[in-house]
Structures are given as C-alpha cells and as structure tokens.
Amino acid sequence: MAQAVSQNDHGHHDHGHHDPQELKMLGFWIFLITDVVLFGTLFATYVVLHNNTAGGPSAHEVFEMPGVIAETFILLTSSFTSGLAVLAMNKGNVKQLIAWLIVTFILGAAFIGLEVQEFVHLVHEGFNFGTSAFSTSFFTLVGTHGLHVSMGLGWMILLIIQLSRRGINDVTRGKVNVISLYWHFLDAVWIFLLSVVYLMGVM
C-alpha cells in the first residue's frame, strides 16, 4: 500500500522523496511491530504463569534488584548513546559516529554480561528453565530480550567495520538509522520487563 502511495506521489512531482531508504525504515518499523506482538505473547504467558511456582522459589525469593537496576541504567544510557551516534552521523562526523557506536556496544555487552551472570546465579540457586511454569516463562521472556540485544551487538560490530571502511554514505546511513531504532525499541521492551517482571515480582 505504501508502495502504491509512493508511486502516486512520484507522478506528482519529480523529486520522488519517498526514497527506498524511507521504505526500508518503514519495513523495519513493521518488523519491530511484529516483535511487539512476539513480546506481547511472551508477556501474556509470564503474567498468566508467574504464580505457578510448583513448590520452587517465587519471584521475590529469586530476584536480586541491584544487578537488575544496574542493567536498567546501562541499557537506558546505551539507548541515549545510540541516539548520539545518529546525531554524529547527521553532522557527517564518522569518527564520532563510530565512537558512540562503540560506547553503545560496550554498554550493551555489559548489560548482557550482567544478565548472563544473573542467569548463572539463578541456575546455581536451583532456579532453572524446568523448575516451574514460572521459571520457564521467566527465562523465555527475559532470554528472548537478551537474545535480541546479543544479535544487536553482533550487528553493531559488522556495522562499525563497514563504517570504518566505507564511511557515511546512503547505505550506511540507512543502516545506522535502523540499528538505532532497533536499540531504542529494545530499551522500551526492557522498561516493561523491569516493570512487569522485576518490580511487580519483588513488591
């Protein structure tokens, strides 16, 4: 449908400003919406099952807030720095762009490090994937988010390499815009993880 509209517009005036890049952004946005639905179903599962502990530990017995709070602020800051990367790109400053992407990557890696540490700790406490319906839905929900962040990290490395080789052009500009959108989205999902899983778990 967007395609049809863009064709229409094209006929109106010569500067077809509905360029492929803009369509790619829209396409990526629609992917993010499907991810919203994916996380929505996982949240629904968690909310329904979080009291079914099958004699295992319950939420306020296993969650340790200091680590979770650190993860939250690290991811929040990385969302901000990925925005600063886009700003540096709009100014045409490749070095600054790569620097902010590296900062974002380090923060993202720290987040994943803390999350893995938390999971390892939980498993050692006897709270693993198969302990209860609660633990399964917890690991699936939080793990899916962690997987998204990890994929974003790999993607960011590839993008940093491409940027250092080719600089800022139409292709890399589109990719930086898309990855920053992805990163902000993951931060938004984490806000709901913090709220629904951790804060409501320990209150």
Partner: protein, 113 residues
Amino acid sequence: MADHSNHAHGHNEAHAHGSVKSYVIGFVLSIILTIIPLVVVLNHMLSEIPTILVIMITAVLQFAVQLFFFMHVRERQGNQPRWNVMALIFGLAIVLVVVSGSVWIMAYNGVGY
C-alpha cells in the same frame, strides 16, 4: 497533495531530529521515570494496587518518551500518511487483546489455576 514548502519541510526534518537537546531531555525524563517506580517499590511506600498503578503509568510514560524523543515516531515519512503510527497502533491493539484476554480467561479458569 504536496506543495513545495511542504517538500522543503520534509528535508528540514533531518535537522529536526538532529537535536542534542531532545535526546538529553528524553534521557533525563526516562531516568526520572525509572527512579520513581524503583523508589516506590524498594521502600514499600504504597500498598499493592497504587504500587501497580505507579509502575504501569511510569512504564507507559517512558515508552512514550522513547517513541517521541528517541524513535521520532512523529517525524518520519514527510507528508505521507503515518504508516508507522498505524502499524504501531495495530500492534499495540493485538498486544492489549492477547495480554488482557489471557489474564482474563486464566483468572476464571478453574483447571489452569
């Protein structure tokens, strides 16, 4: 449908979401909106229902901050229809139906609980 001033505006938008100020405001707002529920929950300041309300309201507000200050949901697409906003509303409607429907059904399901 599209005149020239509108077209020029479309190009200026690249600068519109190129402002450090909007990112800093968004960052500060999201930190504040994170600290509020943390303080309320960790100090047990409110009883159960108000606490849940505070958590959910600050989460939704922070989602809005991410959308408007970081993801620039209002700015894309020039003078095109806002397909991204429509897709988002559609997705959120599905999430609302799935989550509230699941909770509602399972709350009255004598077998599952």
